[in-house]
Symmetry: C2
Subunit: 346 residues, 2 copies
């Protein structure tokens, strides 16, 4: 789109001249007034009103892409966001990095599909320079909305929507989910465990699918009965563990696809009188401090740098914003390494 | 400010005509495109580009006050927001009510004073119709910023900044903190307790000050040694309880200004071998389900309807937005009732 013609509309310079202040001061007042002495604020306000000056954010955005704000969209309902420490850590990294860029974080989430149209309107309304979207599910409408409203976006987690694999230029940050899962399962094998079960995450999220793949990389011929699905919550882990014990009472190890499900599994194992790690060795994924250190015994897990991944998402977005259309460059994804952290549970 | 003159800028009607769609469809595409079939989206996009149409959000906002978005500002750092279930409940109420008004919630928080200028710029940038601000501290710069950028705002909690009491028209929602505290302390008195301590919240928040006042309404001559201050976190409650026991080993009851501090106090009482309620009766404030039902024994507390207060804040804001300048009407604050909920701890 061409730059907007200002026509006869009063300029910020005219406002500054009339108020007898610098353009910088007038700009600060028009943009909120922080740090400007009240008498000067009043003078500029008066000039704005007398001249009928209207700041045109939409036009400015098109030219400079600088609203000074970035939307963080979590594709999960509010109760998940506040109960799963993963989101806090990711948001903490994003928040700190955005502060360094002097960009305001505005957090949005998705209670359900009914929210999509409203979010599209907001994202398309020129209120943010870009977006960071994470915890997407494969059938999510968000990627289509983001493409339609053309807001530059970096995804957290490998995109899994239909056709995503062929969209080379979708920028995202993820950890090596498959490699981390392989390491967890290999560790259980090295301890001599013979019947290793897996509590998987939701099948519509690539992180969960990649971790199952890692499990199967090591245990190609594992009994399908040894795999049970949860939804990354504590209760789903407890429930899956009960099913696994019913199906295969001889199991001697479990790899859970995240720490919350591992802590739920631990609850069930205790209730069923199985000692950890003596009877059943247990490994989680994430290394969430609030979880792994409060379990009894402390949890062996696969560490991913969640806060660091949040920071990386911001840096990637700023690169996209500075270099223009993300579609014009090379694929811009970053895969961060994982590390096995050994504690008492395995 | 006068309505912006559109001059020779292309109108939305011109875009619709060129694209061969209705004005409503053109508007939907310009505002994000949700619910519009992709071929129509493309046609409108093309017309927008050919005509150089620029949606002017700032001007539209001045006329209709409808960005379709409301900022929720929590004046606390991110770690508090994610660890204190109070915020989750308040945000849940706000989120549900805003959805009913088809308004997008954008969540902002304040890590420290360094964030104020950026938040002012965002709020003053015409991106939201209004704001809901809560957990303010009395020396917070936020109220001054909000006044300066003139964004219609409803506060959660009675305003306590200098001069706030004389600003009749500041809209806010609060619960009857002082009355609730009185009821808690009267209950402890009715149980025959003679040395009733109080763990207070931070002295720069009106909710904490009102609850101390309620305690003193009943125990006018209480030993000042029986009052110790925390900061509404679990650890501060544990720490305050230890100090109180050191100062007054004869205490036989505690009223804590919130449930989190009460749960911390319970931890200390257990460590020091005091039985609850036999040796020391304990009452909290909030009735936070995730806390009061997981303590042992379950916690007697003062219930406030946190989610309902969130909803009320939205309704009050919508009234302000519909009726214009909040300064022109009657004082618009709502005080909601509290109820004592008796469980085993007192």
């Amino acid at each position: 789109m061409p730059e907007q013609t200002t026509g006869s509309r009063p300029t910020l310079e005219a406002v500054a001249a009339r108020a007898g202040v610098s353009r910088a001061t007038a700009s600060r007042v028009v943009n909120g007034g922080a740090g400007v002495r009240p008498p000067l604020v009043d003078k500029v306000r008066q000039a704005v009103e007398e001249l009928g000056y209207v700041p045109n954010h939409a036009a400015r955005t098109l030219v400079t892409r600088r609203n000074g704000a970035v939307a963080v969209i979590i594709a999960e309902p509010e109760f998940r966001i506040f109960s799963d420490p993963f989101f806090e850590q990711q948001v903490r990294g994003i928040s700190r990095e955005l502060t360094a860029y002097d960009s305001q974080l505005v957090l949005l989430w998705v209670e359900g599909p009914g929210d999509h149209e409203r979010i599209a309107r907001y994202l398309g309304g020129g209120h943010v320079d870009g977006a960071l979207a994470f915890s997407l599910h494969n059938d999510d409408e968000l990627p289509a909305i983001i493409r339609r409203v053309k807001v530059p976006t970096v995804f957290g987690g490998r995109p899994g929507w239909p056709g995503a694999a062929s969209e080379l230029a979708v920028p995202y940050v993820d950890c090596d989910n498959r490699g981390g899962a392989r390491e967890a399962v290999r560790h259980l094998v090295s301890l001599g465990r013979e019947h290793i079960a897996h509590i998987a995450g939701p099948r519509d999220q690539t992180s969960a699918l990649d971790r199952i793949d890692g499990y199967r990389d090591v245990l190609l011929d594992a009994d399908p009965e040894l795999v049970c699905q949860g939804d990354f919550t504590v209760d789903s882990g407890a429930h899956a563990m009960a099913q696994l014990l019913d199906r295969r009472p001889d199991l001697d190890a479990v790899f859970a696809a995240n720490d919350l499900m591992a802590s739920g599994a631990l609850r069930t194992l205790r209730e069923r009188g199985r000692r950890v790690p003596d009877d059943v060795a247990l490994v989680g994924f994430d290394d969430m401090h609030s979880v792994v250190e409060s379990t009894d015994p402390p949890l062996t897990t696969v560490r991913q740098d969640i806060e660091g991944m949040g920071r990386l998402m911001v840096r990637l977005l700023m690169r996209v914003l500075n270099e223009g259309d993300p579609g014009s460059g090379a694929p811009a994804s970053v895969i961060t390494p994982t590390t096995l952290v050994r504690r008492a549970s395995a």
